[in-house]
Subunit: 105 residues, 2 copies
């Protein structure tokens, strides 16, 4: 077993969102992204099999999709996206995001 | 893409913890467990390959391991456990837990 606390292990930066590798194994990869208000993870996709979950731990913003689509994002939201489907996030307040990718890429 | 909000989709019950299947796919299974203070997910394990992440969304309690071991659990904690390793959770306050299992079982 291994434990990490997201609030203690990762902070925020005025320059760009802060990225923390929480876990990587043959089964899944878990990443934490912290965004200051206004920062974003640009829309991206990878042409491979698998899915990602994007969990908003705290804060508000919007999930980004293809062709400029947006979906409101707030604490407690879980977004499921195919890895091959364009996805991203823009923060309106300081926002902590937990991303799980399976299989890991 | 699919979105679910944990605070809106699942509540609490005085009888036992409340279980919500958030997502199930060939890549991972995502479950939400809500515990009233004092409720617990008993220690369990499965003799198969894979790992689970246990994310405390809100509340306080303790993760349970083999032979009565306990690890403090609070909001923002991410616990990684092999599926074959005994794991569980006991809530000291009302607690929301998000569990991701890969590969799904």
């Amino acid at each position: 077993m291994k434990k990490i606390n997201l609030y203690e292990a990762n902070g925020f930066s005025e320059k760009t969102f802060k990225n923390l590798l929480v876990h990587d194994s043959p089964y899944f990869k878990i990443l934490n992204f912290n965004f200051k208000a206004g920062q974003e993870l640009p829309v991206h996709s990878h042409d491979i099999e698998g899915q990602a979950s994007l969990v908003v731990i705290e804060g508000e913003g919007e999930f980004l999709g293809k062709d400029g689509a947006t979906i409101p994002a707030k604490a407690g939201d879980v977004l499921i996206s195919d890895i091959s489907e364009p996805h991203g996030l823009r923060a309106k307040t300081d926002l902590r995001l937990l991303v799980t990718i399976a299989p890991p890429i």
